[in-house]
């Protein structure tokens, strides 16, 4: 920090945070391919895996603290997401949905954990891959349940619609189900995390610049307000991060439920 104060003689220009702040260098020097987002993915996987391993290891009738926490977490996905969106058949999909929810939640929350402070899901590859898995599952289950022709017939020609509407409706239904569902799943999660991280960067970097690089009371006060907002936005981001994990899982469950049930 002292270097920065010394350099204040010639005030350096403020560089607004942008997409470039999402590209991290390799952690262990050039050419080692292992970056901070990858580290967060590995840590997040370990955290979720170990938590559920130890929570479920000794299942007893009277649960201990850890078992109770694990059961509550799993029960939340089972009762609030799978049972609501899919119905009685939803029990079969709870393992997938629970893994999805906690994996996304932990990677998102990494955005507000000190030291890590980067939501790994703001790199598009991770949500994209998860969305592709959901896409494969709901299309596969739909085709398995209704037959290949039946699945697309029920999707594109829903009963109870005037025949004249079909030329308009069918392409829209096909595009929205097969093409846009994975795209919106991916983009929703990615850019929520992207925008949230950008807002935090702007509040903190801008506040630091105003506090330490500018002279005068106004800049100092504005920097203080910006820092306070950074704290408030951090809590708000935590809420958004959990909500987005819930939304991603809920939509996956709704897509699976929609593929399983159809009108005859």
């Amino acid at each position: 920090m002292s270097d920065r104060l010394l350099a204040a003689e010639a005030p350096e220009e403020f560089h607004a945070p942008g997409p470039r702040d999402f590209e991290y260098p390799e952690l262990f020097g050039e050419g080692t391919f292992f970056t901070k987002p990858m580290l967060i993915v590995v840590l997040g996987t370990l955290a979720v895996g170990l938590f559920f391993y130890y929570a479920a290891r000794r299942g007893s009738l009277i649960p201990g603290k850890l078992q109770f926490a694990g059961e509550s977490a799993y029960g939340f996905v089972r009762n609030q997401i799978a049972a609501d969106a899919i119905g009685r058949e939803g029990i079969k999909y709870v393992p997938y949905l629970a893994s999805l929810f906690f994996f996304i939640a932990v990677l998102n929350i990494a955005g507000i954990i000190p030291v890590l402070q980067f939501p790994a899901t703001s790199r598009i590859a991770i949500p994209l891959f998860l969305a592709v898995i959901s896409w494969v599952i709901f299309n596969y289950m739909g085709i398995k349940r209704q037959g290949f022709g039946g699945y697309f017939k029920n999707m594109m020609f829903p009963p109870g619609v005037p025949k004249a509407i079909y030329p308009l409706l069918s392409p829209i239904e096909f595009m929205s189900t097969v093409v846009f569902r994975p795209i919106t799943l991916t983009l929703r999660l990615t850019f929520n995390m992207f925008a949230g991280h950008l807002v935090l960067l702007l509040c903190i970097l801008g506040g630091e610049y105003l506090l330490f690089e500018t002279q005068g009371v106004v800049g100092f006060a504005a920097g203080g307000i910006s820092m306070v907002f950074a704290v408030i936005m951090t809590f708000f981001e935590g809420f958004i991060q959990l909500l987005q994990a819930y939304v991603f899982t809920l939509l996956s469950a709704i897509y699976i439920g929609g593929a399983l049930t159809y009108e005859h």
Binding site: P19, T184, R188, T190, F194, V247
Partner: protein, 67 residues
């Protein structure tokens, strides 16, 4: 002043989803106020509607940076 005109466009594009999300939660709140026991049912529906309306704003910010 420097910066991208894309961001002004994104600001304009966010008006629509903003109004939409406001309407969704207004309906949710009045629904819960009339019938507090329906809260758990309405919550999931409200968040689903919020997610679908928000997708437009999110696609907007994606395109604002990409284009």
């Amino acid at each position: 002043m420097e910066g991208s005109l894309n961001m002004v466009g994104y600001g304009l594009a966010a008006i629509g989803p903003g109004v939409g999300i406001g309407l969704i939660f207004a309906a949710y709140i009045s629904g819960v106020a009339r019938q507090p026991e329906a809260r758990s049912v309405l919550q999931g529906i409200a968040i689903l509607g919020f997610a679908l309306a928000e997708a437009l704003a999110i696609i907007g910010i994606g395109l604002a940076f990409a284009l």
